[in-house]
Amino acid sequence: MESKEKIIFTRPESLTDRITHYCPGCTHGVIHRLVAEALDNLGVREKALGVAPVGCSVLAYNYFNCDFLEAPHGRAPALATGFKRLRPDMIVFTYQGDGDLASIGMSEIIHSANRGEKFTTIFVNNAVYGMTGGQMAPTTLEGQITTTCPQGRNVAQTGQPIRMVELLAALVTPAYLERVAVHTPQHIIKAKRAIQKAFKYQMEARCFTLIEVLSTCPTNWGKTPEEAINWLEDDLIPYYPLGCKKDPESLERDDGAV
């Protein structure tokens, strides 16, 4: 019996075939794939609309096979709001970094979440401004060295790193908020489930959904891809515990780590 070769893992249709501009080992690429897999699995590529931020993923529209808008820095949630309100039948998602969402775009994300806008936000947290060369971000850890806090972040002067999911969870409006990570296959598999669940909630017009994805930045962390993986595990996760912080199903918060 001649058994046919079967492909069991390949590029999702929602992802273009382009070589990305991301640095070697940068897990933006993984997150792109997870979003694309979700669009494929839910069969919504042809009615999807992505909103790209300003930051490393400003060129995200080159890597997805769906319509895209490019937002001014931090304003993606506002663009998504405007679009989704006029086209509730389409699946709208913003893809934003920590500088874009937690710094200049803080007002937009908080108010979109509070209005319960029915789009999905993929929030990539790598604790640094990537595209502009490694400056301190609102999510930079205490003592973490960046190009604008070369002696390590001094929280006495710049405040503590911001936990976005917990901050948004404090809003009364229902939402699905979960923090995941993509530094190991095991975490990637869990991240995929969370991202897909977020898009599912959007298809059901259930609530605002945001997935915070802890991601590596080898170049600006000054580490090899593997060292970056370890640093994420050893330093980022303790400060940014993984898990679902808010879910319209249960509404009671699960603070346990993965």
Binding site: E46, C66, D67, R75, F83, R85
Partner: protein, 364 residues
């Protein structure tokens, strides 16, 4: 279609609805709050989206997203709010998105005041945001004209795929006048919006953006915009003449409510034997340069008087258009003070007295 008495702000809102623009994003700011209140009242009767955002900045970005669907969208605000929208306006111009933005101007700068002014002329016509872009700017002087220009704005925004701004001083928003609003805005045919983001079904993805890292591509984008602005300069110049006649000695140039005040002054001056005509620009960009040059250079005109509710902004464009052919005098009040016809007449008298030969002194 009956004439009805309507407040400017509400008439502007109804005009938008008649033009099929039932998607409105707003943020409260005096003196144009009535537009939002009217739109929210009318929402149940019309199929549209009404959303009050968290800031004018967010609202302008919501417009970017909403306009990307291909539907007609608009907002109204006032001076400080319009400042917050400038970044998004630049992005919408760069991404070639149609949008209509109404500025019911108030005194500035800073928090300024809430009384009428025309001190946002530069911001509107010279581009308040960054980069090589322009916004088509229209200035009504009556509530009826505000209705007509509001509907026209949506047509022009779609025709040129560019933001269009209608600016009126506070009075345009707050005054009540009788207006006729058509049941439906009939407009010339426009091409289908194939550029809109409607989902990549059976076609390649559509990307609505303004980023071009390759300078050649960015320059190409700028020249596409430039061509549109040149076309606007050829096809969209609008102005009105009032009592322009060969016996005029004085040419008054004013727009918006200020022009109406000048008309009263001109009528009164005529009784005093002072003959003045009014040139009223309606399109502030494209600015009616050629038409102004033609009027200014007429032999009978000895003086040009520019009157604004600001400290001389349009005046610079008039000077640019007149290329020094005739002396240009500016008179203006700002901060929310509206010049009275008497003040205008005073200026006119001063200019004409200057020309009269002094009794007893022989002309050398």
């Amino acid at each position: 279609m009956a004439k009805i008495l309507m407040k400017g702000n509400e008439a502007i809102a109804e005009a938008a609805i008649k033009a099929g623009a039932t998607n409105y994003f707003c943020y409260p700011i005096t003196p144009q709050n009535e537009v939002a209140e009217y739109m929210s009242k009318r929402m149940p009767e019309i199929d549209g989206v009404f959303l009050q955002g968290e800031s004018e900045l967010a609202v302008a970005n919501m417009l970017f997203g909403a306009s990307s669907t291909g539907k007609r969208v608009f907002t109204t605000s006032s001076s400080p709010g319009i400042s917050l929208m400038q970044e998004a306006i630049s992005y919408m111009a760069g991404a070639q998105l149609p949008v209509v933005i109404v500025n019911i101007m108030r005194g500035g700068p800073g928090l300024g005041g809430i009384l009428p002014a025309q001190s946002d002329y530069f911001q509107a016509t010279k581009g308040g945001g960054h980069g090589d872009y322009r916004v088509l700017v229209l200035a009504p002087s009556t509530i009826q004209e505000a209705v007509d220009l509001m509907m026209l704005s949506f047509h022009l925004a779609d025709k040129y795929r560019n933001p269009v701004m209608m600016i009126g001083d506070g009075m345009i928003g707050q005054m009540m006048e009788s207006v006729e609003i058509p049941e439906k805005y009939t407009e010339p045919e426009l091409p289908p919006k194939t550029w809109a983001a409607t989902g990549a079904r059976g076609r390649d993805p559509i990307i609505i953006k303004s980023l071009y890292l390759d300078p050649n591509l960015l320059e190409d984008n700028c020249s596409i915009l430039e061509e549109k602005y040149d076309r606007m300069k050829k096809e969209e110049v609008r102005f009105e003449l009032y009592k322009i006649a060969p016996k005029n000695k004085l040419l008054i140039i004013a727009y918006g409510t200020m022009a109406r005040i000048c008309q009263t002054a001109i009528d009164e001056l005529e009784k005093e034997g002072i003959s003045a005509g009014l040139f009223r620009p309606i399109s502030l960009f494209p600015f009616p340069e050629d038409a102004i040059y033609k009027e200014v250079t007429k032999k009978n005109i000895s003086d040009v008087l520019v009157i604004e509710m600001s400290t001389a902004q349009m005046c610079e464009d008039v000077e640019r258009a007149a290329v020094g052919k005739k002396p240009i005098t500016f008179f203006g009040r700002t901060g929310g003070i509206v010049p009275s016809p008497e003040e205008v007449m005073e200026q006119a008298r001063k200019l004409t007295d200057k020309r009269k030969p002094k009794p007893g002194k022989k002309k050398a």
